[in-house]
Protein backbone atom coordinates (compact mmCIF):
# COMPACT_ATOMS: atom_id res chain seq x y z
CA UNK A 1 0.00 0.00 0.00
CA UNK A 2 0.98 3.55 -0.47
CA UNK A 3 -0.77 6.86 -0.39
CA UNK A 4 -1.58 7.82 -3.95
CA UNK A 5 -2.50 11.37 -2.97
CA UNK A 6 0.90 11.83 -1.40
CA UNK A 7 1.37 15.46 -2.39
CA UNK A 8 -1.78 16.28 -0.41
CA UNK A 9 -0.16 15.28 2.86
CA UNK A 10 2.65 17.25 4.46
CA UNK A 11 5.47 14.96 5.58
CA UNK A 12 5.32 16.23 9.15
CA UNK A 13 1.83 14.81 9.52
CA UNK A 14 2.94 11.24 8.89
CA UNK A 15 3.62 8.69 11.62
CA UNK A 16 5.41 5.64 10.29
CA UNK A 17 7.69 3.05 11.82
CA UNK A 18 10.07 1.31 9.42
CA UNK A 19 10.26 -1.84 11.51
CA UNK A 20 7.36 -2.87 13.68
CA UNK A 21 5.92 -6.14 14.93
CA UNK A 22 2.77 -6.09 17.06
CA UNK A 23 1.30 -9.22 18.64
CA UNK A 24 3.59 -11.25 16.45
CA UNK A 25 2.40 -9.65 13.23
CA UNK A 26 4.81 -7.74 11.03
CA UNK A 27 3.31 -4.36 10.27
CA UNK A 28 6.44 -2.59 9.16
CA UNK A 29 6.39 0.54 7.06
CA UNK A 30 3.18 1.59 5.36
CA UNK A 31 1.22 -1.11 7.19
CA UNK A 32 1.41 1.00 10.34
CA UNK A 33 1.36 4.43 8.72
CA UNK A 34 -1.00 6.93 10.28
CA UNK A 35 -1.71 10.42 9.02
CA UNK A 36 -2.33 13.14 11.56
CA UNK A 37 -5.27 15.46 10.91
CA UNK A 38 -4.87 19.04 9.71
CA UNK A 39 -7.79 20.43 11.69
CA UNK A 40 -7.49 23.78 13.45
CA UNK A 41 -8.55 22.93 16.99
CA UNK A 42 -8.36 26.29 18.66
CA UNK A 43 -7.21 29.88 18.42
CA UNK A 44 -4.44 31.46 20.44
CA UNK A 45 -6.19 34.68 21.27
CA UNK A 46 -3.40 36.07 23.44
CA UNK A 47 -1.34 36.68 20.32
CA UNK A 48 -3.59 39.54 19.32
CA UNK A 49 -3.46 41.03 22.79
CA UNK A 50 0.31 41.11 22.60
CA UNK A 51 0.24 42.65 19.16
CA UNK A 52 -2.12 45.34 20.38
CA UNK A 53 0.35 46.18 23.11
CA UNK A 54 2.98 47.00 20.50
CA UNK A 55 2.93 50.66 19.51
CA UNK A 56 2.79 49.70 15.81
CA UNK A 57 0.14 47.05 16.25
CA UNK A 58 -2.87 49.16 17.15
CA UNK A 59 -4.38 49.50 13.69
CA UNK A 60 -4.59 45.74 13.14
CA UNK A 61 -8.24 45.74 14.27
CA UNK A 62 -9.22 47.96 11.39
CA UNK A 63 -8.45 45.39 8.73
CA UNK A 64 -11.48 43.98 6.93
CA UNK A 65 -9.66 41.63 4.62
CA UNK A 66 -10.24 43.43 1.33
CA UNK A 67 -6.77 42.44 0.16
CA UNK A 68 -5.85 45.78 -1.33
CA UNK A 69 -2.50 45.47 0.45
CA UNK A 70 -1.69 42.05 -0.95
CA UNK A 71 -2.83 43.05 -4.40
CA UNK A 72 -0.38 45.93 -4.27
CA UNK A 73 2.49 44.10 -2.63
CA UNK A 74 5.53 43.64 -4.90
CA UNK A 75 6.89 40.84 -2.75
CA UNK A 76 3.65 38.90 -3.08
CA UNK A 77 3.27 39.54 -6.76
CA UNK A 78 6.81 39.19 -8.02
CA UNK A 79 8.66 37.15 -5.45
CA UNK A 80 6.69 34.68 -3.41
CA UNK A 81 2.93 34.45 -3.21
CA UNK A 82 3.24 33.06 0.27
CA UNK A 83 4.17 36.53 1.42
CA UNK A 84 0.67 37.88 1.92
CA UNK A 85 0.14 40.83 4.29
CA UNK A 86 -3.63 40.44 4.44
CA UNK A 87 -3.27 36.78 5.29
CA UNK A 88 -0.71 37.45 8.02
CA UNK A 89 -3.06 39.95 9.60
CA UNK A 90 -5.93 37.46 9.52
CA UNK A 91 -3.82 34.70 11.03
CA UNK A 92 -2.47 36.99 13.71
CA UNK A 93 -5.89 38.24 14.69
CA UNK A 94 -7.18 34.75 15.27
CA UNK A 95 -3.92 33.52 16.70
CA UNK A 96 -3.23 30.77 14.21
CA UNK A 97 0.35 30.55 15.25
CA UNK A 98 1.20 27.32 13.43
CA UNK A 99 0.10 28.84 10.15
CA UNK A 100 2.28 31.89 10.74
CA UNK A 101 5.20 29.66 11.62
CA UNK A 102 4.85 27.81 8.34
CA UNK A 103 5.56 31.08 6.58
CA UNK A 104 8.48 32.06 8.79
CA UNK A 105 10.89 31.82 5.87
CA UNK A 106 9.09 34.48 3.86
CA UNK A 107 7.80 36.70 6.60
CA UNK A 108 10.82 38.98 6.65
CA UNK A 109 10.72 39.73 2.97
CA UNK A 110 9.00 43.08 3.21
CA UNK A 111 10.85 45.63 1.10
CA UNK A 112 9.30 48.57 2.92
CA UNK A 113 7.76 50.12 -0.16
CA UNK A 114 4.70 51.12 1.88
CA UNK A 115 2.31 50.59 -1.00
CA UNK A 116 0.12 48.56 1.33
CA UNK A 117 -0.14 51.29 3.92
CA UNK A 118 -0.66 53.89 1.25
CA UNK A 119 -3.55 52.03 -0.34
CA UNK A 120 -5.35 50.54 2.67
CA UNK A 121 -8.94 51.84 2.61
CA UNK A 122 -9.28 51.43 6.33
CA UNK A 123 -6.13 53.13 7.50
CA UNK A 124 -4.31 50.02 8.65
CA UNK A 125 -0.61 50.80 8.89
CA UNK A 126 0.08 47.49 7.25
CA UNK A 127 3.85 47.46 7.31
CA UNK A 128 3.97 48.51 10.94
CA UNK A 129 1.39 45.96 11.89
CA UNK A 130 3.41 43.25 10.20
CA UNK A 131 6.51 44.33 12.09
CA UNK A 132 4.54 44.15 15.32
CA UNK A 133 3.39 40.63 14.47
CA UNK A 134 6.94 39.59 13.70
CA UNK A 135 8.27 41.09 16.88
CA UNK A 136 5.72 39.26 19.00
CA UNK A 137 6.41 35.98 17.28
CA UNK A 138 10.14 36.43 17.64
CA UNK A 139 9.76 37.34 21.28
CA UNK A 140 7.81 34.14 21.84
CA UNK A 141 10.58 32.27 20.12
CA UNK A 142 8.13 31.00 17.51
CA UNK A 143 10.07 32.29 14.56
CA UNK A 144 13.75 32.93 14.12
CA UNK A 145 15.13 36.41 14.14
CA UNK A 146 15.14 37.42 10.52
CA UNK A 147 18.37 36.64 8.69
CA UNK A 148 18.98 40.17 7.51
CA UNK A 149 18.95 41.31 11.09
CA UNK A 150 22.55 40.15 11.36
CA UNK A 151 23.42 42.54 8.61
CA UNK A 152 21.46 45.30 10.27
CA UNK A 153 23.43 44.72 13.40
CA UNK A 154 26.74 44.76 11.59
CA UNK A 155 25.59 47.94 9.86
CA UNK A 156 24.69 49.50 13.19
CA UNK A 157 27.99 48.54 14.74
CA UNK A 158 29.76 50.37 11.94
CA UNK A 159 27.62 53.42 12.48
CA UNK A 160 28.12 53.39 16.21
CA UNK A 161 31.83 52.97 15.81
CA UNK A 162 32.49 55.61 13.14
CA UNK A 163 29.34 57.73 13.00
CA UNK A 164 28.97 56.67 9.37
CA UNK A 165 29.54 53.71 7.11
CA UNK A 166 32.10 52.96 4.52
CA UNK A 167 30.81 50.90 1.58
CA UNK A 168 33.81 48.70 0.99
CA UNK A 169 34.34 47.98 4.64
CA UNK A 170 30.71 47.18 5.13
CA UNK A 171 30.56 44.93 2.09
CA UNK A 172 33.70 42.95 2.72
CA UNK A 173 33.25 42.85 6.42
CA UNK A 174 29.85 41.35 5.83
CA UNK A 175 31.20 38.90 3.29
CA UNK A 176 33.77 37.80 5.83
CA UNK A 177 31.07 37.34 8.42
CA UNK A 178 29.27 35.06 6.03
CA UNK A 179 32.23 32.72 6.15
CA UNK A 180 33.97 33.57 2.91
CA UNK A 181 37.71 33.82 2.94
CA UNK A 182 38.54 37.43 2.21
CA UNK A 183 42.05 38.16 1.03
CA UNK A 184 43.69 40.85 3.12
CA UNK A 185 46.84 42.83 2.81
CA UNK A 186 49.37 41.75 5.39
CA UNK A 187 50.07 45.16 6.95
CA UNK A 188 46.81 47.03 7.44
CA UNK A 189 44.78 43.84 7.37
CA UNK A 190 42.40 45.44 4.93
CA UNK A 191 40.53 43.31 2.39
CA UNK A 192 41.70 43.44 -1.21
CA UNK A 193 38.80 43.22 -3.61
CA UNK A 194 38.67 40.54 -6.31
CA UNK A 195 41.00 38.20 -4.51
CA UNK A 196 40.18 35.42 -2.16
CA UNK A 197 37.25 33.02 -2.33
CA UNK A 198 34.54 35.53 -2.79
CA UNK A 199 31.63 34.44 -4.97
CA UNK A 200 31.49 35.36 -8.63
CA UNK A 201 28.36 37.39 -8.37
CA UNK A 202 30.10 39.59 -5.86
CA UNK A 203 33.11 39.98 -8.08
CA UNK A 204 30.79 41.06 -10.88
CA UNK A 205 29.06 43.39 -8.53
CA UNK A 206 32.32 45.07 -7.65
CA UNK A 207 33.91 45.09 -11.10
CA UNK A 208 30.97 46.63 -12.93
CA UNK A 209 30.92 49.93 -11.03
CA UNK A 210 34.70 50.09 -10.85
CA UNK A 211 34.92 49.89 -14.64
CA UNK A 212 32.69 52.89 -15.03
CA UNK A 213 33.99 54.85 -12.10
CA UNK A 214 35.56 58.25 -12.23
CA UNK A 215 39.22 57.81 -11.39
CA UNK A 216 39.15 60.37 -8.56
CA UNK A 217 36.23 58.63 -6.96
CA UNK A 218 38.00 55.33 -7.28
CA UNK A 219 41.02 56.71 -5.48
CA UNK A 220 38.80 58.20 -2.78
CA UNK A 221 37.14 54.84 -2.28
CA UNK A 222 40.43 53.02 -2.09
CA UNK A 223 41.63 55.56 0.44
CA UNK A 224 38.51 55.11 2.52
CA UNK A 225 38.97 51.41 2.48
CA UNK A 226 42.42 51.80 3.88
CA UNK A 227 41.68 54.53 6.35
CA UNK A 228 38.16 54.38 7.65
CA UNK A 229 36.57 57.84 7.63
CA UNK A 230 35.06 58.98 10.85
CA UNK A 231 32.53 61.63 11.77
CA UNK A 232 34.09 64.58 13.54
CA UNK A 233 33.97 64.50 17.33
CA UNK A 234 32.27 61.16 17.23
CA UNK A 235 33.83 59.88 20.45
CA UNK A 236 31.42 61.52 22.84
CA UNK A 237 28.44 60.83 20.67
CA UNK A 238 29.45 57.20 20.54
CA UNK A 239 29.46 56.93 24.33
CA UNK A 240 26.02 58.46 24.62
CA UNK A 241 24.68 56.24 21.88
CA UNK A 242 26.08 53.10 23.45
CA UNK A 243 24.46 53.95 26.75
CA UNK A 244 21.10 54.56 25.15
CA UNK A 245 21.34 51.32 23.24
CA UNK A 246 22.27 49.47 26.37
CA UNK A 247 19.25 50.89 28.18
CA UNK A 248 17.02 49.86 25.27
CA UNK A 249 18.39 46.37 25.54
CA UNK A 250 20.02 46.33 22.11
CA UNK A 251 23.04 44.10 22.08
CA UNK A 252 26.16 45.08 20.26
CA UNK A 253 29.09 42.80 19.80
Amino acid sequence: MAIHERSLVEPERILRKDRLVIDGIDVSGDWNLIILPRVIEDYDLSLLDEILQQPEGKTILQCYQCSYCTASCPVHNYWDERYNPRHFIYLARLGMVDELQKRADVMWRCVSCHKCTHRCPKGVLVEEVLKAILRVLAKRGLIEEYPSKKFDQFFMEQVVEYGRIEDGDLLFGWIEKQGYKVFKDPILKKPIPLFGEIPDWLKDLVIKPIKNMNIDFLILNAKHMLIHPRTKNWGKMKQVLRRVLEEEGVKLH
Binding site: V39, Q62, Q65
Partner: protein, 352 residues
Protein backbone atom coordinates in the same frame (compact mmCIF):
# COMPACT_ATOMS: atom_id res chain seq x y z
CA UNK B 1 -68.78 54.14 -1.51
CA UNK B 2 -67.29 53.00 1.75
CA UNK B 3 -65.21 55.58 3.49
CA UNK B 4 -63.37 53.33 5.85
CA UNK B 5 -59.98 51.73 5.51
CA UNK B 6 -59.03 48.32 6.89
CA UNK B 7 -55.50 47.85 8.18
CA UNK B 8 -54.48 44.21 8.64
CA UNK B 9 -51.69 43.76 11.18
CA UNK B 10 -50.83 45.78 14.27
CA UNK B 11 -47.09 45.74 13.92
CA UNK B 12 -44.89 48.72 13.02
CA UNK B 13 -46.14 49.07 9.42
CA UNK B 14 -49.80 48.56 10.35
CA UNK B 15 -49.58 50.99 13.27
CA UNK B 16 -47.94 53.61 11.10
CA UNK B 17 -50.64 53.22 8.44
CA UNK B 18 -53.45 53.41 11.00
CA UNK B 19 -51.87 56.42 12.67
CA UNK B 20 -51.60 58.30 9.40
CA UNK B 21 -55.17 57.45 8.43
CA UNK B 22 -56.45 58.39 11.87
CA UNK B 23 -54.66 61.70 11.76
CA UNK B 24 -56.23 62.40 8.39
CA UNK B 25 -59.60 61.89 10.00
CA UNK B 26 -60.43 58.69 8.17
CA UNK B 27 -62.34 55.93 9.88
CA UNK B 28 -59.87 53.06 10.19
CA UNK B 29 -60.29 49.50 11.39
CA UNK B 30 -57.08 47.91 12.62
CA UNK B 31 -57.21 44.15 13.09
CA UNK B 32 -54.48 42.31 14.95
CA UNK B 33 -54.22 38.54 15.35
CA UNK B 34 -52.50 38.75 18.73
CA UNK B 35 -53.85 40.22 21.96
CA UNK B 36 -51.42 43.13 21.88
CA UNK B 37 -50.30 45.79 19.42
CA UNK B 38 -46.68 46.32 18.41
CA UNK B 39 -45.77 43.38 16.23
CA UNK B 40 -42.67 41.27 16.55
CA UNK B 41 -40.43 43.84 18.30
CA UNK B 42 -42.92 44.26 21.13
CA UNK B 43 -44.40 40.76 21.25
CA UNK B 44 -41.02 39.04 21.16
CA UNK B 45 -39.39 41.64 23.42
CA UNK B 46 -36.50 42.71 21.26
CA UNK B 47 -33.77 44.47 23.13
CA UNK B 48 -32.43 47.04 20.70
CA UNK B 49 -33.65 47.99 17.24
CA UNK B 50 -31.43 48.55 14.26
CA UNK B 51 -30.31 51.03 13.07
CA UNK B 52 -30.82 53.72 15.72
CA UNK B 53 -30.22 51.48 18.69
CA UNK B 54 -33.50 52.48 20.32
CA UNK B 55 -35.70 50.27 22.49
CA UNK B 56 -38.85 48.88 20.83
CA UNK B 57 -41.01 50.73 23.34
CA UNK B 58 -39.29 54.01 22.49
CA UNK B 59 -39.93 53.56 18.78
CA UNK B 60 -43.26 51.81 18.61
CA UNK B 61 -44.74 52.98 21.92
CA UNK B 62 -45.78 56.43 20.63
CA UNK B 63 -47.42 54.86 17.58
CA UNK B 64 -49.43 52.48 19.74
CA UNK B 65 -50.47 55.29 21.99
CA UNK B 66 -51.58 57.56 19.17
CA UNK B 67 -53.50 54.79 17.46
CA UNK B 68 -55.24 53.78 20.66
CA UNK B 69 -56.13 57.37 21.52
CA UNK B 70 -57.36 58.38 18.10
CA UNK B 71 -61.19 58.07 17.97
CA UNK B 72 -61.02 57.48 14.22
CA UNK B 73 -59.14 54.20 14.69
CA UNK B 74 -61.03 51.16 15.78
CA UNK B 75 -58.60 48.54 17.11
CA UNK B 76 -59.73 44.94 17.05
CA UNK B 77 -57.35 42.62 18.87
CA UNK B 78 -57.37 38.81 18.62
CA UNK B 79 -58.97 39.21 15.24
CA UNK B 80 -58.07 37.93 11.79
CA UNK B 81 -59.74 38.30 8.46
CA UNK B 82 -61.58 35.25 7.17
CA UNK B 83 -63.00 36.25 3.79
CA UNK B 84 -63.27 39.16 1.41
CA UNK B 85 -65.88 39.90 -1.20
CA UNK B 86 -66.22 42.67 -3.72
CA UNK B 87 -63.79 44.87 -5.55
CA UNK B 88 -62.27 48.22 -4.69
CA UNK B 89 -63.59 50.53 -3.47
CA UNK B 90 -66.33 48.32 -2.00
CA UNK B 91 -64.69 45.52 -0.08
CA UNK B 92 -66.81 43.42 2.26
CA UNK B 93 -64.48 41.75 4.69
CA UNK B 94 -65.55 39.07 7.15
CA UNK B 95 -63.60 39.01 10.38
CA UNK B 96 -62.94 36.06 12.67
CA UNK B 97 -65.20 37.59 15.34
CA UNK B 98 -68.13 37.20 12.94
CA UNK B 99 -68.36 40.86 12.01
CA UNK B 100 -68.45 42.03 8.43
CA UNK B 101 -66.92 45.38 7.62
CA UNK B 102 -67.29 47.46 4.50
CA UNK B 103 -64.17 49.29 3.53
CA UNK B 104 -62.92 51.32 0.58
CA UNK B 105 -59.28 50.29 0.81
CA UNK B 106 -57.10 47.80 2.63
CA UNK B 107 -53.58 48.10 3.97
CA UNK B 108 -51.88 44.72 4.42
CA UNK B 109 -49.12 44.75 7.02
CA UNK B 110 -49.04 41.15 8.13
CA UNK B 111 -45.32 40.89 8.69
CA UNK B 112 -42.85 38.07 8.93
CA UNK B 113 -41.87 35.22 11.19
CA UNK B 114 -38.48 33.95 12.28
CA UNK B 115 -37.02 30.85 10.72
CA UNK B 116 -37.40 27.68 12.79
CA UNK B 117 -33.77 26.75 13.49
CA UNK B 118 -34.71 23.13 14.16
CA UNK B 119 -35.01 22.73 10.43
CA UNK B 120 -31.23 22.95 10.23
CA UNK B 121 -30.70 19.77 12.21
CA UNK B 122 -26.92 19.86 11.89
CA UNK B 123 -26.75 23.06 13.91
CA UNK B 124 -28.04 21.30 16.99
CA UNK B 125 -30.65 23.88 18.00
CA UNK B 126 -33.12 22.20 20.32
CA UNK B 127 -30.56 19.48 21.05
CA UNK B 128 -27.83 21.46 22.79
CA UNK B 129 -29.06 24.09 25.28
CA UNK B 130 -26.14 26.42 24.58
CA UNK B 131 -27.16 26.82 20.97
CA UNK B 132 -29.61 29.72 20.99
CA UNK B 133 -31.11 32.00 18.37
CA UNK B 134 -30.42 35.69 18.04
CA UNK B 135 -34.02 36.24 19.08
CA UNK B 136 -33.39 34.39 22.32
CA UNK B 137 -30.26 36.45 22.85
CA UNK B 138 -32.36 39.61 22.49
CA UNK B 139 -34.78 38.24 25.04
CA UNK B 140 -31.93 37.28 27.34
CA UNK B 141 -30.83 40.91 27.26
CA UNK B 142 -34.28 42.45 27.53
CA UNK B 143 -35.83 40.11 30.08
CA UNK B 144 -32.91 39.16 32.26
CA UNK B 145 -30.37 41.81 31.46
CA UNK B 146 -27.49 39.40 31.49
CA UNK B 147 -25.59 37.02 29.30
CA UNK B 148 -25.32 33.40 30.37
CA UNK B 149 -25.05 29.85 29.12
CA UNK B 150 -28.44 28.17 29.42
CA UNK B 151 -26.75 24.88 30.31
CA UNK B 152 -25.17 26.13 33.54
CA UNK B 153 -26.08 29.77 34.01
CA UNK B 154 -22.46 30.87 33.81
CA UNK B 155 -21.02 33.68 31.76
CA UNK B 156 -19.67 32.22 28.51
CA UNK B 157 -16.01 32.78 27.75
CA UNK B 158 -16.68 32.69 24.05
CA UNK B 159 -19.72 33.49 21.97
CA UNK B 160 -20.07 32.65 18.29
CA UNK B 161 -22.56 34.18 15.90
CA UNK B 162 -23.53 31.90 13.05
CA UNK B 163 -24.73 33.91 10.08
CA UNK B 164 -27.34 32.95 7.50
CA UNK B 165 -29.28 30.29 9.40
CA UNK B 166 -32.36 29.79 7.26
CA UNK B 167 -31.19 32.35 4.73
CA UNK B 168 -29.44 31.87 1.42
CA UNK B 169 -29.92 28.15 1.68
CA UNK B 170 -31.49 25.96 -0.95
CA UNK B 171 -31.14 22.85 1.18
CA UNK B 172 -34.35 24.05 2.81
CA UNK B 173 -36.11 24.23 -0.52
CA UNK B 174 -36.66 27.27 -2.71
CA UNK B 175 -38.35 29.18 0.12
CA UNK B 176 -35.22 30.28 1.97
CA UNK B 177 -32.89 31.49 -0.70
CA UNK B 178 -33.21 35.19 0.14
CA UNK B 179 -31.01 37.28 2.43
CA UNK B 180 -32.47 38.36 5.77
CA UNK B 181 -30.85 41.81 5.46
CA UNK B 182 -30.66 42.49 9.18
CA UNK B 183 -28.63 39.54 10.48
CA UNK B 184 -25.15 40.90 9.84
CA UNK B 185 -25.99 44.24 11.37
CA UNK B 186 -27.80 42.79 14.36
CA UNK B 187 -24.92 40.44 15.08
CA UNK B 188 -22.50 43.35 14.96
CA UNK B 189 -24.71 45.19 17.38
CA UNK B 190 -25.23 42.28 19.72
CA UNK B 191 -21.55 41.43 19.60
CA UNK B 192 -20.68 45.02 20.48
CA UNK B 193 -23.17 45.02 23.34
CA UNK B 194 -21.62 41.86 24.73
CA UNK B 195 -18.07 43.19 24.41
CA UNK B 196 -19.04 46.48 25.98
CA UNK B 197 -20.65 44.90 29.00
CA UNK B 198 -18.35 41.91 29.34
CA UNK B 199 -14.93 42.78 27.89
CA UNK B 200 -13.62 39.40 28.97
CA UNK B 201 -16.01 37.57 26.64
CA UNK B 202 -14.58 36.85 23.21
CA UNK B 203 -17.06 37.25 20.36
CA UNK B 204 -16.74 35.62 16.95
CA UNK B 205 -18.83 36.23 13.87
CA UNK B 206 -18.75 33.45 11.27
CA UNK B 207 -19.62 34.98 7.94
CA UNK B 208 -19.64 34.32 4.22
CA UNK B 209 -19.88 38.00 3.49
CA UNK B 210 -20.99 40.88 5.66
CA UNK B 211 -24.01 42.74 4.32
CA UNK B 212 -24.32 45.86 6.40
CA UNK B 213 -25.55 47.87 3.49
CA UNK B 214 -25.78 51.64 3.17
CA UNK B 215 -25.00 53.68 6.20
CA UNK B 216 -24.97 50.62 8.42
CA UNK B 217 -21.40 49.79 7.44
CA UNK B 218 -19.69 51.79 10.15
CA UNK B 219 -21.93 51.24 13.17
CA UNK B 220 -22.58 47.57 12.58
CA UNK B 221 -19.47 46.28 10.91
CA UNK B 222 -16.51 48.57 11.40
CA UNK B 223 -17.21 49.64 14.94
CA UNK B 224 -17.73 46.12 16.27
CA UNK B 225 -14.27 45.24 15.02
CA UNK B 226 -12.39 48.44 15.67
CA UNK B 227 -14.04 49.64 18.85
CA UNK B 228 -15.23 46.46 20.46
CA UNK B 229 -12.86 43.80 19.18
CA UNK B 230 -15.46 41.46 17.74
CA UNK B 231 -13.63 38.89 15.63
CA UNK B 232 -14.83 38.04 12.16
CA UNK B 233 -13.98 34.62 10.77
CA UNK B 234 -14.68 33.73 7.18
CA UNK B 235 -16.50 30.45 6.74
CA UNK B 236 -20.03 29.27 7.11
CA UNK B 237 -20.69 26.96 10.02
CA UNK B 238 -21.40 23.48 8.72
CA UNK B 239 -22.19 21.76 12.00
CA UNK B 240 -22.40 22.46 15.67
CA UNK B 241 -21.72 19.57 17.97
CA UNK B 242 -21.06 19.09 21.63
CA UNK B 243 -18.08 17.48 23.28
CA UNK B 244 -18.87 15.90 26.65
CA UNK B 245 -15.13 15.99 27.32
CA UNK B 246 -15.11 19.68 28.21
CA UNK B 247 -18.81 20.48 28.07
CA UNK B 248 -18.28 22.96 25.25
CA UNK B 249 -19.73 23.21 21.80
CA UNK B 250 -17.67 22.82 18.65
CA UNK B 251 -18.34 25.03 15.67
CA UNK B 252 -17.18 23.24 12.59
CA UNK B 253 -16.31 25.16 9.50
CA UNK B 254 -13.71 25.63 6.86
CA UNK B 255 -11.75 28.75 7.50
CA UNK B 256 -11.90 29.68 3.83
CA UNK B 257 -9.10 32.20 4.18
CA UNK B 258 -6.72 29.74 5.79
CA UNK B 259 -8.19 26.87 3.72
CA UNK B 260 -8.19 24.41 6.56
CA UNK B 261 -10.96 22.69 8.47
CA UNK B 262 -11.58 24.10 11.93
CA UNK B 263 -13.47 22.87 14.97
CA UNK B 264 -13.34 25.59 17.54
CA UNK B 265 -14.64 25.28 21.11
CA UNK B 266 -17.38 27.75 22.00
CA UNK B 267 -19.50 28.25 25.10
CA UNK B 268 -22.51 29.90 23.55
CA UNK B 269 -23.54 29.83 19.91
CA UNK B 270 -26.05 32.30 18.52
CA UNK B 271 -27.85 31.36 15.34
CA UNK B 272 -28.72 34.37 13.22
CA UNK B 273 -32.17 33.50 11.94
CA UNK B 274 -33.60 34.13 8.53
CA UNK B 275 -36.96 35.78 7.91
CA UNK B 276 -39.99 34.12 6.35
CA UNK B 277 -43.44 35.50 5.55
CA UNK B 278 -45.70 35.02 8.55
CA UNK B 279 -48.54 32.51 8.46
CA UNK B 280 -50.84 35.54 8.47
CA UNK B 281 -49.18 36.93 5.37
CA UNK B 282 -49.66 33.68 3.48
CA UNK B 283 -53.27 33.41 4.63
CA UNK B 284 -54.17 37.00 3.80
CA UNK B 285 -52.51 36.69 0.40
CA UNK B 286 -54.83 33.81 -0.44
CA UNK B 287 -57.96 35.56 0.85
CA UNK B 288 -57.27 38.82 -0.94
CA UNK B 289 -55.69 37.31 -4.04
CA UNK B 290 -52.39 39.10 -3.62
CA UNK B 291 -49.39 38.21 -5.73
CA UNK B 292 -46.71 36.24 -3.94
CA UNK B 293 -43.19 35.40 -4.90
CA UNK B 294 -43.39 31.81 -6.15
CA UNK B 295 -40.30 30.86 -4.18
CA UNK B 296 -40.14 32.72 -0.89
CA UNK B 297 -43.92 33.39 -0.65
CA UNK B 298 -43.49 37.04 0.34
CA UNK B 299 -45.98 39.51 -1.18
CA UNK B 300 -44.80 41.30 -4.28
CA UNK B 301 -45.85 44.75 -5.55
CA UNK B 302 -47.75 45.23 -8.80
CA UNK B 303 -45.56 44.49 -11.79
CA UNK B 304 -46.35 47.76 -13.54
CA UNK B 305 -45.79 49.91 -10.51
CA UNK B 306 -42.50 51.38 -9.48
CA UNK B 307 -43.78 51.84 -5.98
CA UNK B 308 -43.13 49.22 -3.36
CA UNK B 309 -46.52 49.51 -1.65
CA UNK B 310 -48.94 49.19 -4.55
CA UNK B 311 -50.25 45.64 -4.70
CA UNK B 312 -51.56 43.80 -7.73
CA UNK B 313 -55.15 44.49 -6.55
CA UNK B 314 -56.63 47.94 -6.83
CA UNK B 315 -57.32 49.46 -3.44
CA UNK B 316 -55.01 47.10 -1.54
CA UNK B 317 -51.69 48.41 -0.32
CA UNK B 318 -48.88 46.36 1.17
CA UNK B 319 -46.39 47.60 3.71
CA UNK B 320 -43.61 46.31 5.92
CA UNK B 321 -42.13 42.86 6.36
CA UNK B 322 -44.92 41.01 4.56
CA UNK B 323 -42.96 41.89 1.42
CA UNK B 324 -39.63 40.68 2.65
CA UNK B 325 -37.03 41.49 5.27
CA UNK B 326 -37.06 45.15 6.24
CA UNK B 327 -35.75 47.34 9.03
CA UNK B 328 -37.89 49.23 11.51
CA UNK B 329 -37.41 52.67 9.95
CA UNK B 330 -38.42 51.57 6.49
CA UNK B 331 -41.29 49.54 7.85
CA UNK B 332 -42.75 52.58 9.63
CA UNK B 333 -42.19 54.75 6.56
CA UNK B 334 -43.90 52.24 4.28
CA UNK B 335 -46.83 52.05 6.70
CA UNK B 336 -47.19 55.80 6.63
CA UNK B 337 -46.97 55.86 2.84
CA UNK B 338 -49.52 53.06 2.50
CA UNK B 339 -51.87 54.89 4.86
CA UNK B 340 -51.60 58.07 2.81
CA UNK B 341 -52.03 56.11 -0.44
CA UNK B 342 -55.15 54.44 0.95
CA UNK B 343 -56.53 57.81 2.00
CA UNK B 344 -56.16 59.25 -1.47
CA UNK B 345 -57.57 56.08 -2.98
CA UNK B 346 -60.87 56.42 -1.14
CA UNK B 347 -60.96 60.07 -2.16
CA UNK B 348 -60.68 61.50 1.28
CA UNK B 349 -60.43 65.26 1.29
CA UNK B 350 -58.15 66.64 3.89
CA UNK B 351 -58.65 70.24 4.81
CA UNK B 352 -55.60 72.40 5.06
Amino acid sequence: MAKSVLVIGGGPAGLAAARTLGKLGIHTILVEKEGKLGGRPILEEYHTLIPRKMKPQQVIGPFIEEVQNNPNVEVKLNTEIEACEGEAPNFKVTLSNGETVEVGAIVVATGFQHFDAKRKGELGYGIYPDVITNLELEQMFSREGKLYRPSNGELPKRVAFVFCVGSRDRQLGVTNVHCCRYGCALSGLQGSEIREKYPEVEVFCYYMDVRTYGTWEYPFYWAPQEKYGVRYVRGRIAEITYSPKDGRLRVKHEDTIVQRPAEIPMDLVVLVLGMEPSEGTKKVAKILGLAQDPDNQFLIPAEDSGSNIISNKAGIFIAGACKGPIDIESSLAEGEAAGAEAATFIGAKVSA
